[in-house]
């Protein structure tokens, strides 16, 4: 699915003393099968933005289009099935007596047959590698396991676009790497992933394109190299190293990922 936001504005609490314009005309598109990274500091509007993608929030003005059709005209449940949203610290929404039951919640809301529900639960648990935890209580799991259970719950809807808001927050480095590997797998399976993250290094590793937000507006949108080299002071460590060397060693190019940066550095004469 191609998800497009056209000039989306969002004003919280309009007409009250607490009025604040969180989004100021944001336009971007999520192409099928890509990983789009969304970066920006606190207050940039990242979380507000992604809640428009499944219409949990409705734009004050502007449009949200799913495959060219106004998302508001679609049945809410259908839209939310196709565009899955995983909040930050999603484990705070686990509620069922077993992991299996919890993951089954979303497919059941879609009124699928029991057999279909079970199949999807199996699929999701396997994808997140928590199949052996199916009968456990979600409240008895470790932090990383809970995180995976929560993501499995959304994945069970078989969304075409999966939005992850700070999915690695609070995880140890090993769990983090597993999650990034999952994102790559999802993309390979044809699912678009929107990765909202304050960790530029992880965005650098997996994103096909990057959207940088600043105070509710799009500061930059393009390939990771375009966005990050455009503003090296707010870039992942790899880009910062490379751009410091560019002046004296322009042959270094525009590497973004770890491996390509390492290769570029090794290729420098004398290193």
């Amino acid at each position: 699915m191609r998800l497009e936001l056209k000039d989306v504005r969002h004003v919280y609490a309009p007409g009250t003393p607490f009025e604040v314009e969180a989004l100021r005309g944001v336009s971007l598109a999520i192409e099928p099968g890509e990983v789009l990274g969304i970066v920006g500091g606190t207050g940039s509007g990242k979380s507000t933005l992604v809640q428009h993608m499944n219409l949990l929030l409705v734009p004050t003005s502007g449009e949200v289009l799913a495959d060219g059709v106004d998302a508001r005209s679609l049945e809410k449940r259908e839209l939310r099935r196709k565009v899955g949203l995983v909040f930050q610290f999603p484990e705070s929404a686990l509620f069922a007596p077993t992991v299996e039951e919890d993951v089954a919640f979303a497919p059941r809301q879609l009124a699928l047959g029991e057999e279909e529900v079970r199949e999807r639960v199996r699929e999701s648990l396997r994808a997140l590698r928590i199949w052996d935890l199916a009968a456990r209580s979600p409240f008895a799991l470790s932090g990383g396991e809970k995180r995976r259970a929560a993501i499995a719950g959304v994945l069970a809807m078989r969304p075409e676009v999966l939005i992850l808001d700070e999915p690695t927050a609070g995880l140890d480095p090993a769990a983090r790497e597993e999650l990034l590997a999952l994102i790559v797998n999802l993309r390979q399976a044809g699912i678009s992933v929107v990765l909202v993250s304050h960790d530029l290094d992880e965005v650098a590793e997996v994103a096909d394109r990057v959207c940088a937000l600043h105070e509710g507006g799009v500061r930059a949108l393009g390939t990771p190299a375009e966005v990050f080299y455009g503003e090296p002071a707010q870039a992942p460590a790899t880009v910062r190293v490379a751009s410091l060397l560019k002046e004296s060693k322009p042959e270094i190019g525009d590497p973004v990922r770890f491996e390509e940066t390492l290769a570029a550095l090794k290729a420098l004469p004398g290193v």
């Binding site: 500091g41 606190t42 470790s142 932090g143 990383g144 700070e166 927050a169 609070g170 140890d172 480095p173 090993a174 769990a175 983090r176 790497e177 304050h198 960790d199 530029l200 290094d201 992942p236 460590a237 790899t238 910062r240 190293v241 410091l244 060397l245 004296s248 060693k249 770890f258 940066t261 390492l262 550095l265 090794k266 420098l268 004469p269 004398g270 290193v271």
Partner: protein, 285 residues
Amino acid sequence: MENPGEGTRPGGSLAVSCERASFSYPGSERPALSEVSLELRRGEYVGVVGPNGGGKSTLVRLLNGLLRPDSGRVRVSGRDPVTEPFEVRKHLGVLFQNPENGLVAPFVEDDVAFGLENLGIPREEMQGKVAGAIRAVGLEGYERREPSTLSGGEKQRVALAGLLAVEPQILLLDEPTSMLDAAGRREVLERLEALRAGKTILHVTHHLEELAGADRILVLNEGDLVADETPERLFSDAALLRENRLVLPVVPRLALELGLPGMLRTPEGLAGAIIKRTQSGTRTG
């Protein structure tokens, strides 16, 4: 009833010591901490790393008396935190992971004063200490703010101020930045850096780069203390890092792969080292 206890000597005395301390959570199959022995001297800055579930948080809670060891001995400035928790907590403060759940009062000022109130400090003395602590964390002007309106970094700084007001000699930091975003982490780490002098610090974290300035780093894995190294040695030991699921951040990793010292933390440092090497034309290390 002073009990200087074993293991304390004036000047360079032991701030913290564990002797074969073990602890298992009720109902769990394996111990959270297994015969761990360690010592922290006054003024040392020691890091603690290791995979989740390895015992790091358990260690913190044994040191401040929230948990009692199943066997072995724990001493803080010569005192047993289980039998003398109040005394220990006068000199030992803990900064916890969750910025939200450590703040108890509806206003910043009152929360910072909470520890002082508990210790029965007279009101006249409290004003100065509270103001000083708020200043030390850079939150002047925030006195009447409500915790729910603060950012993660600000909340942790309030929590830190609350600890500093009591003027502890020992600080335990239990993953204080893991729930914060990049800006919040920077805020909190800057303040910790500035306030380290003269204190004994035990810093539990997943972010190895936060421990570059540490005197030593302890590695806890599955309840065992598996290593006690300087940052230089730990950062360059690829096998040790891998075995304990420790990941160096990007810059040190690049440095190591290029045969440069793993202690290079900043992009500027790495870029500088690379330029120097290309100029000298020889490979070192």
